[in-house]
């Protein structure tokens, strides 16, 4: 007969010297782990609770301006800096890490309405309601101290009407301003190289496409969104909605999609090739959405609204993933997502810029590989059980300021009442006489070539 019995030698399972690593043997057999689903559920619950315990998104405020912040710009070649401009003409460059002003650019006489940085990260373009477009030199990041004595202003171009927004091409040396019409400028010319016009209303925001450097989208006060192509020097398409769009942002990872921040508290995501129907309607704000910016990952975007909150949405989701608010933060006029997708900067009415974390419970700083694995595991186990009621309740819970909570409830009752009336009208009229329109199409009045 042949007999074999389990025999283990202690040498194989214990370490030889005290500075060796401990030996670990693994057996992934599910039989050795009874009730693994219950254990996972308990871990998901604990992970959700810890998420809330560590959720401290506000990092700090950047104090310095003496009037409301009207616009911000980020420098694509320098991660740590952000430009901001206020309603009294004060433009500053901030160092995000120390939350201090690096240098100021005085010069504008009135409100500065738009700020943008050129492709190579060396020139700052600003435009304002004093009918001027000014170009400034950006100091190098390598530590050349900004001295006030040297003249940082590169050029000042005066034109006929007040400007509302400015944006620079992602690759190229043209920038576009929005005012009575859309003007295309070159750095060295004191007059616009080209201009576009469609209709008689002011254009209030302009954005260049990250993928196609010659395509830009504008929004006008006639409730329209127009897409222009520089090469054909004619407008391509126009979309008229029911309410005005305050700001547009293109998705940097999917450059054919853009999201429009609208006056009726929603954001509409469109595919630029197919403007007749919105891809997604993002509903959560209770007052007009003032500004929108995409994360460099293209997976989420941040919006700032007149209702004093900043919300972060998923690019394809209907409701916000996160909401940030503070008692001291008043109407938010501009928001920016930092270029490393970890921070959100909001500029508001109370003259402060605020720095927030993009993920509220993220641990900042250097993370050990073991910590990182643990964080990833907690994320994964939370996502697996996030539809179960206990976990969902914890993950979804956010404290809202009372006016916003009440306003949200009010909007909901109003929307429900409208829907009920619509359903009754449909039920009491001949079938087919009142067509049901999807929300994505509902807000669009017409599309014009």
């Amino acid at each position: 007969m042949r007999v074999k019995v389990i025999s283990r030698s202690a040498d194989e399972f214990t370490r030889e010297r005290s500075n060796d690593l401990q030996r670990v043997s693994r057996n992934y057999d599910p039989k050795l782990r009874p009730q693994e689903k219950a254990v996972e559920y308990v871990r998901a619950l604990n992970a959700a609770k810890l998420d809330k315990v560590f959720s401290r998104p506000f990092i700090g405020a950047m104090d310095g301006h003496i009037d409301a912040i009207s616009s911000m710009a980020k420098n694509p070649s320098h991660l740590k800096g952000v430009f901001s401009a206020s309603m009294d003409g004060d433009i500053r460059l901030w160092d995000i890490a120390s939350r201090k002003t690096v240098c100021q650019y005085p010069g504008h006489q009135g409100a500065v309405r738009g700020l943008t940085v050129s492709t190579n990260g060396r020139v700052l373009v600003s435009c304002g309601s004093d009918c001027t477009v000014r170009l400034w030199r950006i100091p190098l990041a390598s530590g050349i101290e900004s001295d006030d004595s040297s003249d940082k202003s590169l050029a000042t171009y005066v034109w006929k009407n007040a400007f509302w927004a400015v944006d620079h091409q992602w690759e190229g040396d043209r920038f576009a301003t929005a005012g009575a019409q859309v003007d295309i400028w070159d750095h060295n010319r004191s007059q616009p190289v080209n201009n576009f016009e469609w209709g008689n209303d002011t254009v209030i925001s302009v954005r260049f496409n990250p993928g196609e450097p010659n395509i830009l989208a504008t929004s006008g006060s006639d409730r329209s969104i127009t897409i222009y192509d520089l090469r054909t020097s004619s407008p391509a398409r126009k979309l008229i909605m029911r309410t005005k769009t305050n700001s547009i942002a293109w998705n940097p990872m999917e450059p054919m999609n853009f999201t429009a921040a609208n006056e009726n508290c929603n954001c509409y995501s469109f595919d630029a090739r197919k403007l007749e129907e919105a891809k997604c309607v993002h509903k959560d704000h209770v007052s007009a959405v003032m500004d929108i910016d995409y994360s460099p990952t293209g997976r989420e975007f941040v919006t700032g609204s007149y209702d004093r909150t900043v919300r972060i949405f998923q690019y394809n989701g209907g409701h916000s993933r996160e909401i940030y608010h503070t008692k001291r933060m008043q109407r938010v006029f501009c928001v920016k997502f930092s270029c490393d997708a970890s921070y959100v900067i909001s500029g508001s009415d109370d003259t402060n810029l605020r720095l927030w974390k993009a993920k509220a419970s993220e641990q900042l700083g250097v993370i050990l590989p073991r910590e990182r694995k643990k964080h990833e595991y907690m994320e994964a186990v939370k996502n697996r059980y996030k539809h179960l009621p206990e976990v969902k309740r914890i993950l979804r819970h956010r404290h809202l300021p009372k006016p916003i909570y009440k306003a949200g409830l009010l909007r909901r009752t109003m929307a429900d009442a409208e829907k009920r009336k619509e359903d009754r009208r449909r039920a009491h009229s001949s079938p087919g006489s009142i067509p049901s329109r999807s929300l994505r199409k509902n807000r669009i009045i017409q599309e014009i070539e």
Partner: protein
């Protein structure tokens, strides 16, 4: 052919790691959800494949086996002959501790199989480290000890003594005296939930959370004294066997048992559970040993014989003991249990308890004259996982493990017969239309309620008898109205349908002559 076998083996392994069937994606209409789930299923498949392939490298230790040559039967081999064929280190695992005075012994192992606690009926408690075979603590409590069980560590054990249950430290210090349990006959410890459960002389079941000290459940079984209590490791359900032949299954949050099975024609003497959760072995005084399938609750095999104690090993072998005779049954490929090995002890020895040692091919026997340990090749799981149970644990690892296990402590509500149900959504039942007689019963009840409403007596001539009766009638009419409306709706619908069918049944030529009068 070899390639076939290898791929079949791999498939079996992959199936083991996949943990059941994937979700049914065909019936989904939501495209986004379908895409997400398809992605997840893909990932699961990949990880199952990776785990199956990694098995070759991770499983260092080989499992034991006993192969007879030719016509020999495996149960002919005695422990002596096995000892001759096996190496010195394994021979150490075969021993006999003769302790004749202190009563029949019962024993328990920690989940890693390294430490053993044993209790003699007359009050002798010992903890032995089985790697060095040295007793860590040896003490005499001078009271009857009926059962002993390790808690989550080798540092704590609970002993069911004459009047109360006591929890002791590894050093022998008495930490707690649990008076609520009463005179306990059998103890069980639910590892994942940190619940110490017991059944006492009166047949009362107790569940106590040993981390907070709170008594979670305290239930009367209603079936009298019972000294058979066993834990199902798959779903942490306790089962008790009673003198009527019934086996009841309990969970800490309900006073009534989950399942009551009539297993034997006489009292149940022993119960044991297979680690896969489907098989249960029960033995009764009717000299039968039955193997039950818990999914269908029917006996798949009946073997003759008495058994005072039963235990399943990690690999599915069943050890039974009666008197001084111990036998081990193994399931061959046909899933039928047949005799694998036997061990007869000296005549005067009465075996009290048999227990397989985890992660070793060893069976521990507690009997009236002490403790023995015999080798059963092929009964233990050869490869342990350091993060589940580690026989070579250092003190630092033990402390870390304690914290981790406490963080993952399951709430007592999570105990259920099918542990895979956690995380599943409940099926929403569709509301059925109530039947005619149900509607009528409701109507009658509503009318009676309306009739019995007490009307307030008003003063100044406002409560004249005529007014009172009129008000009462109004109440009854109101109660009837809602039912009339319901009825009317249905009636109208029915009539409409009837009319249309009538017209369409006739041939075309006759259709103008169909009477439009409502029948």
């Amino acid at each position: 052919m070899e390639i076939h076998d290898v791929s079949d083996e791999l498939e079996i392994k992959v199936k083991k790691y996949q943990r059941g069937e994937g979700a049914d994606l065909e019936s989904l209409k939501d495209k986004k959800l379908k895409g997400q789930l398809a992605n997840k299923e893909d990932l699961f498949k990949k990880s199952a494949n990776a785990a199956a392939k990694a098995e070759k490298w991770l499983m260092q230790t080989e499992e034991g086996r006993l192969e007879p040559d030719g016509l020999e039967k495996t149960w002919r081999f005695s422990q002596q002959s096995i000892a001759n064929e096996v190496d010195v280190a394994s021979r150490k695992n075969q021993f006999d501790l003769v302790l004749p005075d202190l009563g029949p012994y019962t024993l328990d192992y920690t989940s890693s199989g390294r430490y053993m606690v044993s209790a003699g009926r007359k009050g002798h408690l010992t903890i032995i480290d089985l790697h060095t075979l040295k007793p860590i603590k040896d003490m005499q409590v001078r009271e009857t000890v009926r059962d002993v069980v390790f808690l989550h560590n080798e540092f704590f054990f609970a002993a069911a003594q004459k009047k109360y249950t006591y929890i002791y430290n590894r050093a022998g210090t008495e930490l707690h005296c649990l008076k609520e349990h009463g005179a306990v006959l059998k103890l069980q410890f639910l590892k994942n939930h940190f619940l110490l459960s017991s059944i006492n002389k009166f047949g009362h079941l107790h569940y106590q959370d040993i981390t907070t000290g709170q008594m979670i459940g305290n239930y009367r079984s209603g079936l009298g004294r019972s000294d058979v209590l066993q834990l199902n490791p798959y779903n942490s359900v306790l089962t008790s066997g009673h003198s009527g032949g019934t086996v009841s299954m309990w969970k800490p949050t309900t006073p009534a048992p989950l399942v009551k099975m009539l297993c034997h024609r006489g009292p149940v003497t022993a119960i044991a559970f297979h680690p896969n959760g489907h098989l249960m072995a029960t033995a009764g005084m009717d000299k039968k040993l039955k193997i039950w399938d818990l999914r269908k609750y029917e006996a798949i095999q009946t073997l003759p014989g008495l058994a005072k104690s039963l235990d399943f090993s990690q690999k599915g072998m069943l050890a039974t003991s009666t008197g001084s005779f111990v036998q081990v049954l193994a399931a061959s490929d046909s899933q039928e249990y047949s005799r694998y090995m036997i061990h007869t002890m000296a005549k005067g020895y009465q075996v009290n308890k048999v227990l397989f040692r985890p992660y070793e091919d060893v069976l521990g026997i507690g009997h009236s004259n002490g403790l023995s340990s015999i080798l059963i090749p092929g009964s233990g799981e050869p490869n342990f996982d350091s993060w589940v149970a580690n026989p070579y644990e250092t003190s630092k690892q033990r402390r870390e493990k304690e914290v981790r296990v406490l963080l993952d402590k399951l709430p007592p509500e999570s105990i259920m017969l099918d542990p895979t149900q956690i995380g599943n959504l409940r099926n929403t039942k569709k509301k059925e239309k109530p039947k005619q007689h149900e509607i009528e019963a409701e109507k009658a009840a509503a009318i009676v309620a309306a009739k019995n409403v007490p009307l307030k007596k008003k003063t100044k001539g406002r409560s004249k008898p005529s007014k009172v009766t009129r008000k009462k009638q109004e109440g009854i009419e109101l109660a009837k109205r809602s039912f009339v409306e319901q009825n009317k709706e249905d009636g109208v619908m029915k009539k409409k349908q009837k009319r249309t069918t009538d017209a369409s049944e006739l041939p075309v030529a006759l259709q103008p002559f169909v009477s439009r009068k409502t029948t």
